[in-house]
Symmetry: C2
Subunit: 356 residues, 2 copies
């Protein structure tokens, strides 16, 4: 198989961890006889430095010509004082819109080897295996108006939560399709007791569910979901929700299993290319120290193999390699504990490659 992959390392540790994913994809290519071509583009702060914008047209072009996109992370203190439209995260928001990445998938998985790094008790998180599906191009993120004005001499401000019914339908369908391949349960999160958009969301979820008699649908209010995620995370299989609720809940879910540095994500569009990135940020405090955990980026590459290229066996090979390396006791600093072999970013990458 021949595939073109756009690589956007971005800022901070983005470069260091993305190298890991690229190396691992190369190793997979060699072992399974695929040809992956990598082309590099800029996004975020490093794009502002070179092009004066966090998402140059060149980068968008590059992505459009590729079969999949691998992203590192964006942001850094150097860019915090820039005007809003030049901030690194604008690059992220814009690429979502440009590529139509309407669904963000974030698996949260329990690793028995990492249970000690979790703030939660082992008996709460044991066997947690859920996927959060977050709508990614609608809601409060892009609704207009989003502006200040003066009303009766008062300074006021407005943001707009806007959805087309069709935007709800496609992401909820995706959640049901996913649940069908998993444990057969969808938890739809909304605030239907307050928001009209949530009442529509709930209706759409009910409607979509009719075509999936084999999948169970439950509705949970967002405040209750924020509690249940901590009290009883095992009860979730696929969780689907709108953009802002998803932003909050998926970050909450990411700390449950203590494996923040290991969590991958995928953002899907209707026609591709899809985009893959670790859920952690650019961590400027540890940039260049060769201590970042490359496993989230490597596991994002596994998701790419599975979802963009349909290479299930190859995806499993990456995931198994990661598990073996963990079971052998190798740990980067963030997940290290007493009695384990603490390794650098590059050493960890070498271990995973060697195991593949």
């Amino acid at each position: 198989m021949k595939k073109r992959i756009a690589v956007l390392p971005g800022d901070g540790i983005g470069k260091e961890v993305t190298r890991g994913a690229v190396d691992v994809l190369k190793a997979i290519g060699e072992r399974f006889g695929h040809q992956f071509y990598f082309s590099y583009g800029k996004i975020g702060g490093s794009a502002v430095d070179s092009f004066g914008t966090p998402l140059p047209d060149e980068t968008v072009e590059l992505c459009r010509e590729s079969d999949a996109v691998l992203l590192g992370a964006v942001g850094g203190p150097k860019y915090d004082q820039l005007p809003v439209h030049l901030r690194p995260e604008r690059g992220l928001l814009k690429i979502r819109k440009e590529l139509g990445l309407y669904a963000n998938l974030r698996p949260t998985l329990y690793y028995s080897s990492l249970a000690e790094s979790s703030p939660l008790r082992k008996e709460i998180i044991e066997d947690v295996d859920m996927v959060m599906v977050r709508e990614l191009t609608g809601g409060l993120y892009f609704g207009k108006p989003s502006e200040r004005s003066t009303q009766n001499g008062q300074d006021v401000v407005v943001d707009t939560l806007f959805y087309q019914r069709e935007e709800m339908t496609r992401v909820i369908k995706l959640a049901f399709d996913l649940a069908r391949q998993r444990k057969g349960k969808v938890t739809s999160v909304d605030k239907a007791n307050v928001l009209e958009s949530s009442r529509m969301w709930r209706e759409v979820a009910e409607e979509v569910s009719k075509a999936y008699p084999d999948v169970t649908l439950e509705h949970v209010l967002v405040d209750n979901a924020a509690m249940q995620l901590i009290k009883n995370p095992r009860k979730f299989d696929v969780v689907v929700t709108e953009n802002m609720f998803g932003d909050i809940l998926s970050d909450e879910a990411s700390v449950l299993t203590g494996s923040l540095g290991m969590l991958p994500s995928a953002s899907l569009s209707e026609k591709g290319p899809y985009l893959y990135e670790p859920i952690h940020g650019s961590a400027p405090d540890i940039e260049g120290q060769n201590v970042a955990n490359p496993l989230a980026s490597i596991l994002s590459a596994a998701m790419m193999l599975r979802l963009s290229f349909g290479l299930e066996e190859e995806a499993k090979a990456v995931e198994n390699a990661v598990n073996e390396v963990l079971n052998a006791g190798y740990r980067t600093k963030d997940i290290s504990s007493f009695g384990k072999k603490q390794v650098s970013t590059t050493e960890m990458i070498e271990e995973v490659k060697a195991t593949i």
Copy 2:
């Protein structure tokens, strides 16, 4: 001191737990020589049953004539199929608006005697002592438009996040005043990298902070806050945020210390009366079984003594009584564990009264 207290037991276990708070207030009145007059009103489902509306004018009148309001909880399966404007929670939203209750205060406190009931490890939650201040009458909850329409043949929906600058200022000021009496730190939560309203919020927080050189201000993005609350809850003192973020984060915070059935809340207005209620819901599944935990309602009464009546010593007396009863091993079912004396709602109330 003579004070009139409006009591709105509401639905489900609301009646059972509110009785506890009333009994304890009576005991305090006797011991300290105050006269508390209690008048009862309806809200939520029980108001729909009697008056055909979740918040009758009589109830609003009663509250306005009182010095403080004690609320139980609203809601139940019986009312779930009613049209939106008749749902029990409409009563809650409407009373907030009618009484101008713009700030909801929720303390989250670590009880060493309950550490085992928490889903989090003891070393994470030990000594947690924070107050969440949630803006309660603005944002997405009341903004207009909140409606569906058709655009280019597409079904669309909009909700509106609206704030006056002044609404931000008063609640943020309140958070700073509170921090001054506590550990001197305010964490302001927003989503300034996406929302214009959050950028204004952050500006207002900076502005207000100038008058409080003795208080430290930090800004945290809402998604990061959702993580930090679980990873490192001890780092928080006073957390202040807008309505919807506050709804989600305060429920998240409420499960940290394992004492959900023990957490009180206060909602403050500019001129009073203030409203006090446990943060738990109406729990229809255990209604009428005499097993509900009355301590959240009793501790809400303590907040009333302190915040509405300025009776600090009396408030402490209630809080100390609750601690003593817990230390003596008494537990309602929700917080009970091996080796403890499991008691009913009424027995727990008797124990607290006896200790006062």
